[in-house]
């Protein structure tokens, strides 16, 4: 029988030097960043649609100084957080259980992988019809978007638990709750964290797209309205802010992943 491999591809051992990147690499990396900014600058000089980096950063600073950005940012972020946390609460236990229960997993697999392929944002109009425009429908969308990646990686991690650990749990007469919390959850935590990182970024994207479609408040809506008003520099500033937020979240998860791996 060929088990379906749900685990993300493992990084092979590197052939080059291991450890901190070489100074050459750091210099090149910085060089790429500088080139990108130069490219942006050139584009702003050539086209009147593209504002210069300085203008955009100044606009972003102004938005924070005036305080106009806080409410939309809070709205977007809280929708993502609520949905994301709800998705964890449902997907992690379900994934651990499915990973340990072969028949149930085999029955559920085509549904899960099939639904994972469906662009989540199309359910947004349905959520709008149920909850109306507002935080609730965005939160639900965030939850649905984060649910599938978390579920899939948790299943992968749960299936990969070494059989010796389950034997240990049995011989120590661990109860179901103890086995799940102390053995399964701990041993699958690396895979789960990968799912959390992907889930967080997908739910953030989904909420932004949803706000571009219809919202009362939020960063996506601000992009939309500043575009409509042809305030391009303001629009770029919000796009920049969205990018920074996404990078911060991703970086935070990467740090947690690294910390746990070195434990």
């Amino acid at each position: 029988m060929h088990p379906v491999n749900n685990q993300p591809a493992k990084r092979p051992l590197r052939l080059g030097p291991v450890g901190s990147p070489l100074p050459v690499v750091a210099i090149f990396r910085a060089g790429v960043a500088i080139l990108l900014i130069c490219g942006w600058w050139t584009a702003s000089a050539v086209s009147n649609l593209v504002p210069s980096p300085a203008e955009v950063v100044a606009d972003l600073v102004m938005m924070f100084a005036k305080g106009a950005i806080w409410a939309p940012m809070l709205d977007t972020v809280s929708a993502v957080v609520v949905g994301f946390v709800a998705a964890i609460v449902v997907a992690v236990p379900l994934g651990l259980w499915l990973g340990r229960t072969r028949t149930a997993l085999m029955i559920a697999t085509p549904f899960i992988s099939g639904l994972f392929a469906v662009p989540r944002v199309i359910v947004y109009p349905v959520l709008l019809a149920i909850f109306g425009v507002g935080l609730q429908s965005k939160g639900w969308l965030a939850g649905i978007s984060a649910f599938f990646p978390i579920l899939l990686t948790t299943i992968g991690g749960s299936r990969a638990i070494p059989p010796i650990l389950t034997k240990v749990a049995r011989s120590l007469r661990c109860g179901a709750a103890q086995t799940y919390l102390q053995i399964y959850l701990r041993s699958a935590i690396h895979s789960i964290l990968v799912g959390l990182r992907v889930g967080a970024s997908l739910s953030f994207v989904a909420v932004i797209v949803a706000e571009l479609f219809a919202a009362q408040e939020g960063l996506g809506l601000m992009v939309q309205s500043s575009y409509a008003l042809q305030k391009y520099s303001e629009m770029f500033a919000i796009v920049l802010l969205i990018t920074i937020l996404a990078l911060l979240v991703n970086g935070a998860f990467a740090l947690v992943e690294r910390a746990i791996r070195h434990e």
Binding site: M1, H2, V4, N5, A9, R11, P12, R14, L15, G16, L22, V24, V25, F28, R29, V32, L49, V50, T103, M106, I107, P110, F111, S113, G114, L115, F116, A117, V118, P119, R120, V121, I122, V123, Y124, P125, V126, L128, A129, I130, S201, F204, V205, I208, V209, L212, F213, G220, V223, Q224, Y227, Y232, F236, V239, I242, T243, A246, L247, V249, N250
Partner: protein, 257 residues
């Protein structure tokens, strides 16, 4: 595990899948017919099926479907080779990989979709910005998986290619690509799935035509039944593509074993 037990398990699994499908539809039908779920929000599945059958007979629908399909295919035509080529280039040099990989991973994390107004200004309303963003979303996972796939090729195979005096092109075409095929294909599959998500989401927010656009548009027209029929089309399409790609992937893995 012996054959008969395998067969019996297979049968249980299929019975489980089929009864789960029937159960879900029956429950939805019952709940919507009785009125527990408001028919305004979620019409009974039987009505959606009837609407879908009507829709399939209209030229209107095929215009939308054709537009979406062309956008998806073009985004893959641009995105897949770009991803593979970038992946091969970065896999070839450790320094290049160390320099560019963090940027590539970053592109994964940021919502590319928010760049649409810029593209809209440059390319105008139509398929252009949709294909550009979807192709980009296809490229990133393909490039990342290609790097993993190619750096994972056994060094013995590379040595063999050297002692056979393969040209670099031969080495890539005859040794590296076939032996990294399963991981490479996992990237291609992910890329195509991202392409579907990108195309549909982009249509949803900015198009003038296409299935994703129609879902949003029918919602705005309060045509909930038609909206659901279009959602059903997208769900079935995405599930079918994902199942087909899974099948190909399984075959590739089996070939290798």
């Amino acid at each position: 595990m012996n054959g008969t037990q395998d067969d019996r398990n297979g049968a249980i699994i299929w019975i489980g899948r089929i009864s789960a499908t029937i159960g879900i539809f029956a429950a939805l039908e019952a709940l919507t017919q009785v009125g527990v779920i408001s028919a305004v929000v979620f019409p009974p599945p039987s009505k959606i099926a009837v609407e879908l059958a009507r829709l399939l007979g209209t030229s209107h629908f095929w215009g939308d479907a054709g537009r979406t399909l062309i956008e998806l295919v073009l985004s893959c035509v641009f995105g897949l080779p770009a991803g593979v080529i970038i992946g091969i280039a970065l896999a070839a040099s450790t320094t290049a990989r160390d320099v560019f990989e963090p940027y590539l991973v970053t592109l994964y994390a940021i919502p590319t979709v928010v760049f649409y107004p810029i593209l809209l200004a440059l390319m105008g309303l139509g398929s252009g910005p949709i294909i550009a963003i979807a192709a980009f979303m296809v490229m990133v996972p393909v490039a990342l998986n290609t790097i993993v796939a190619i750096t994972g090729v056994s060094s013995q195979l590379i040595k063999l290619s050297r002692s056979l005096r393969c040209t670099p092109l031969q080495r890539i075409w005859k040794i590296v690509l076939p032996s990294s095929a399963p991981v490479l294909f996992a990237g291609v599959k992910l890329g195509i799935m991202y392409g579907i998500v990108g195309t549909i989401s982009m249509e949803f927010i900015l198009a003038d035509k296409g299935i994703g656009f129609r879902v949003g548009n029918e919602y705005n027209n309060f045509a909930i039944l038609s909206m659901w029929a279009h959602i059903a089309v997208i769900v079935v399409f995405a599930m079918a593509i994902s199942a087909a790609l899974d099948q190909v992937e399984r075959r590739l893995r089996m070939d290798l074993q």
